[in-house]
């Protein structure tokens, strides 16, 4: 059937812009304005790209978390998983199995993605087939992944030994394409992919359906277990992507790697307007949420108003304020 593109009926359901969908962006703009007032250096190109690059890990992981949470799940293991994958990746780089350097680095990346997907698959299958609460499952795997890394590192840290490899791989974090750092491109790419999956594909709609009401999904012939498991696999891939740009930054992994990332990522997701109990997901809101958290930390470093040791407290306050604001908006409708 040939149908002119513009011929879609006028009544085609358009996603309605709700206040809660726009709020994270307004908040981000407001915070950036405050940052500019507090310190003119805040708006410098270097500082802004630095902030963006630093937010890559949380933003990338949080996109995966958005899918998991929208599907009615939760993944607490992402920080530990990042540490575990970092350790394995560095061990592989150190193994000298491949002589060709670009090939070695690319293989390490592929390995990271494969391990990430497998870790996610394990989380997914245990919650769906094993029928255990995702909170419990991922609390368990969080301990397992972190402990595996500590064991691999024998309590210390794992570092890229070969200085040539280190120098070559460094480009992945510090390099840029037409002035745009690679990590920023990664955020963009992951967000576009996440938004595409969630909003434009049948799978994305199934994710929302499963998170919104599992029974309705089941009675509609949707395989709840399959849909949910895949969200965890996608989460694992997002963690692996974050690791791929994280490893070249410090060239090392230790028991402290990725500590607390799960909570920061969940904060970004919730601040971004995604509903914690599932059914409603905002990918771009999540990106805004991750940026809000990073920008606030940055402003606190640049200005001397509040001690930077209080960053955690401020981030904690943000999540509560964000929830109160959402509650207020939905109540006033």
């Amino acid at each position: 059937m040939t149908q002119a593109v513009g011929e879609a009926p006028a009544a085609a359901p358009r996603r309605r812009m709700s206040v809660s969908a726009v709020a994270p962006f307004l908040a981000l703009a407001l915070i950036c304005a405050l940052g500019a007032l507090a310190n003119p250096r805040f708006l410098s190109f270097d500082n802004l790209t630095n902030v963006l690059a630093r937010s890559t890990f949380i933003a990338t992981i949080a996109v995966g978390q958005t899918l998991v949470i929208t599907g009615g799940g939760l993944d607490l293991s992402v920080g530990a998983m990042a540490a575990f994958i970092s350790g394995l990746t560095i061990l592989f780089l150190n193994s000298g199995l491949i002589d060709n350097m670009p090939l070695l680095i690319v293989s390490a990346m592929v390995l990271a993605l494969a391990v990430g997907a497998l870790c996610g698959l394990f989380n997914g299958l245990t919650t769906t087939i094993g029928k255990i609460e995702p909170f419990i499952v991922t609390l368990g795997t969080m301990g397992i992944f972190r402990s595996l890394l500590t064991w691999l590192a024998q309590g210390g840290s794992i570092t890229i030994r070969n200085t040539d490899v280190r120098a070559a791989y460094r480009q992945v974090y510090f390099g840029d394409l037409f002035g745009v750092p690679y990590p920023v491109l990664l955020i963009l790419g992951v967000a576009v992919a996440g938004a595409f999956i969630l909003y434009a594909t049948a799978y994305g709609r199934h994710v929302r359906a499963v998170g919104s009401n599992e029974d309705v999904a089941r009675y509609s012939g949707i395989s709840v277990a399959r849909v949910r498991t895949i969200t965890y696999v996608l989460q694992g891939l997002c963690v692996a992507l974050a690791v791929i740009v994280y490893v070249p930054r410090l060239s090392s992994a230790s028991a402290a790697t990725g500590l607390g990332w799960e909570l920061t990522a969940i904060t970004a997701v919730v601040v971004g307007g995604t509903r914690l109990k599932g059914g409603v997901g905002h990918i771009w809101g999540t990106i805004a949420g991750a940026l809000i958290l990073e920008v606030i930390g940055n402003i606190m470093l640049l200005s001397n108003l509040v001690s930077e040791y209080l960053i955690g407290a401020v981030q904690g306050a943000i999540i509560i304020i964000a929830m109160l604001a959402q509650r207020g908006m939905s109540a006033s409708r």
Partner: protein
């Protein structure tokens, strides 16, 4: 509005109204959902309020029970105006409301729910023994012998409804308001409830009663008020109104026959055959078959295992047995498998299993058939919009605004949407569970026509219903289940309420036990 004002001038004598509402109106934003309604009820009187969905019945009841404040008008108790400050205030004054929606904590027991917020105490602890005893007694009135210590979530919907009624009536009261209490009850439980209402009446309680079921209204009410579009159309003694008059007043036009002409009973080979099928713990050894173009009814009491049997058939709960579709053996591990083979099940529980209440009509319409709406990895939104146009047209889904969420639609429109959603799959076998529960008479009439049309198109249709009248009205044959087993089948001349009740209860109407 002509006959409306007669009763309200009666004043407050010893025989005057206990509860009187004068000129009540209520608006939500610019929309007036109730305008200038006056009703009154005396001690020992049952006043029924009837009307289609959206006529304003529930709004009126909520105002009388203190859940909503009226925009205009006054409420008088014993002749003096009062301002109800909330449901607690209303209860304190002796007005209790039995809600239409079930509002019980699923993890707490019947007894715990019944006394929630007003637990009996013995010293520092709650007096569970006494509460359980009273709860057991209250449930026995309805003929329910369920353990009152079991969590409410293990009860059937009907049992939950009864527990909710018992909970409301456990509060001291002189005015009881029932908001569609029988929507999910079978005839046996309904007659137990009507018996209870007569008892309340004899005790001098004033009863306000909302129902869709006009026969029931005729049987129990003294006075009937008809609402239409928020306005009071008539208030008359029940003795002067036959159900058909009530229906005419509710709809505002003469209703053609409620049931469509039955398509001719088909002959030929069965399309769908089920042999010795069981649903773990709920049904066993069920065998039946349906021909193309045939409408087969499933009757039985709530708890007879009808819903569970079909849920097990469609892989939605545990069970097993033989299924054949057009001669080919089938085994469905999930609903998707049934759909692929050409069979669909429409749940009785529209709101929590049928539709995503927070999503739009279009999303719901295509949810079960999204792969048909894909272009590459993308959802083809233009095609989806066209499917919505067609569905709205074919099933007469009445929505002004297509961005409306499913949860904002009336029950009738939700049922039409659920039907439209499953028909996207173009199934050969359609199982519809409680197709008209909680929907108004106009929408019911339409649903019956849709069902007849599905059969006329050569599909095999199975209708599970607790309303015997509708099964008799639309089906070619009716299978009756009792305690998880198929106990009989009626067709043709034998298809009457008496025959079905005898099979469903195992007791003939003169009390003789006919169980075999």
């Amino acid at each position: 509005m002509s006959e409306a004002g007669e009763k309200k001038r009666a004043g407050a004598g010893p025989d005057g109204p206990v509860l009187e509402a004068v000129g009540l109106s209520r608006s939500f934003g610019p929309i007036e959902v109730l305008s200038d309604v006056s009703v009154s009820v005396r001690a020992g009187e049952v006043h029924a309020i009837i009307g289609e969905n959206g006529a304003g019945k529930s709004t009126l009841m909520k105002i009388l029970a203190g859940h909503l404040a009226p925009t205009r008008g006054a409420i008088k108790l014993d002749g003096s105006p009062v301002e109800l400050k909330g449901p607690v205030d209303a209860e304190r004054r002796g007005v209790v409301l039995v809600h239409q929606e079930i509002m019980l904590a699923p993890d707490l027991s019947i007894a715990e729910n019944m006394f929630l917020g007003r637990e009996l105490r013995r010293g520092l602890t709650v007096d569970d023994r006494e509460m359980n005893r009273r709860a057991t007694e209250a449930m026995r009135v309805f003929g329910v012998e369920a353990a009152v210590t079991a969590p409410v979530q293990r009860l059937s919907i009907a049992q939950r409804q009864l527990a909710q009624i018992a909970r409301a009536l456990a509060v001291p009261h002189r005015i009881a308001i029932f908001d569609e209490p029988t929507a999910s009850l079978t005839p046996v439980e309904t007659s137990a409830l009507l018996g209870l209402i007569r008892e309340l009446k004899a005790k001098g309680v004033a009863v306000l009663y909302i129902s869709h079921r006009l026969e029931e209204v005729k049987a129990v009410a003294d006075v009937v008020t008809v609402l239409r579009d928020g306005k009071q159309v008539a208030t008359k003694p029940a003795a002067e109104l036959e159900p058909v008059d009530m229906a005419r007043l509710m709809v505002g036009r003469d209703l053609l026959a409620l049931y469509p002409p039955r398509p001719p009973a088909p002959a030929g080979e069965p399309a769908f055959e089920v042999g010795r099928f069981g649903a773990a713990g709920f049904a066993e050894d069920a065998s039946f078959s349906v021909r193309p173009g045939e409408i087969l009814g499933f009757a039985g009491l709530v708890g007879a295992g009808r819903t569970e049997l079909f849920e097990a058939l469609f892989g939605l709960r545990k069970g097993g047995g033989d299924i054949r579709l057009n001669g080919a053996e089938q085994q469905w591990r999930d609903a998707r498998a049934g759909m692929r083979a050409g069979a669909v099940y429409l749940t009785e529980d529209r709101k929590s299993k049928g539709l995503l209440l927070e999503e739009t009509i279009a999303v719901n319409l295509t949810l079960a058939s999204l792969d048909k709406f894909q272009r590459g990895p993308l959802i083809d939104r233009a095609r989806e919009a066209r499917a919505l146009d067609e569905a709205i047209q074919r099933f007469d889904i009445r929505v002004g605004d297509r961005t409306l969420l499913a949860g904002q639609m009336s029950g009738g429109n939700q049922q039409k949407l659920l039907l439209a959603k499953m028909m996207q799959l173009d199934p050969r076998v359609v199982v519809i569970d409680e197709p008209t529960r909680g929907i108004d008479i106009g929408a019911k009439q339409q649903i019956y026509r849709f069902i007849a049309a599905l059969a006329a198109e050569g599909r095999s249709v199975i209708v599970i219903s607790s309303e015997m009248a509708e099964l008799i009205g639309i089906c070619h044959r009716i299978i009756v289940m009792r305690n998880g087993r198929v106990v009989g089948e009626v067709a043709g001349e034998e298809m009457n309420e008496h025959a079905i009740v005898v099979l469903a209860t195992g007791v003939s109407t003169n009390g003789e036990d006919v169980r075999t």
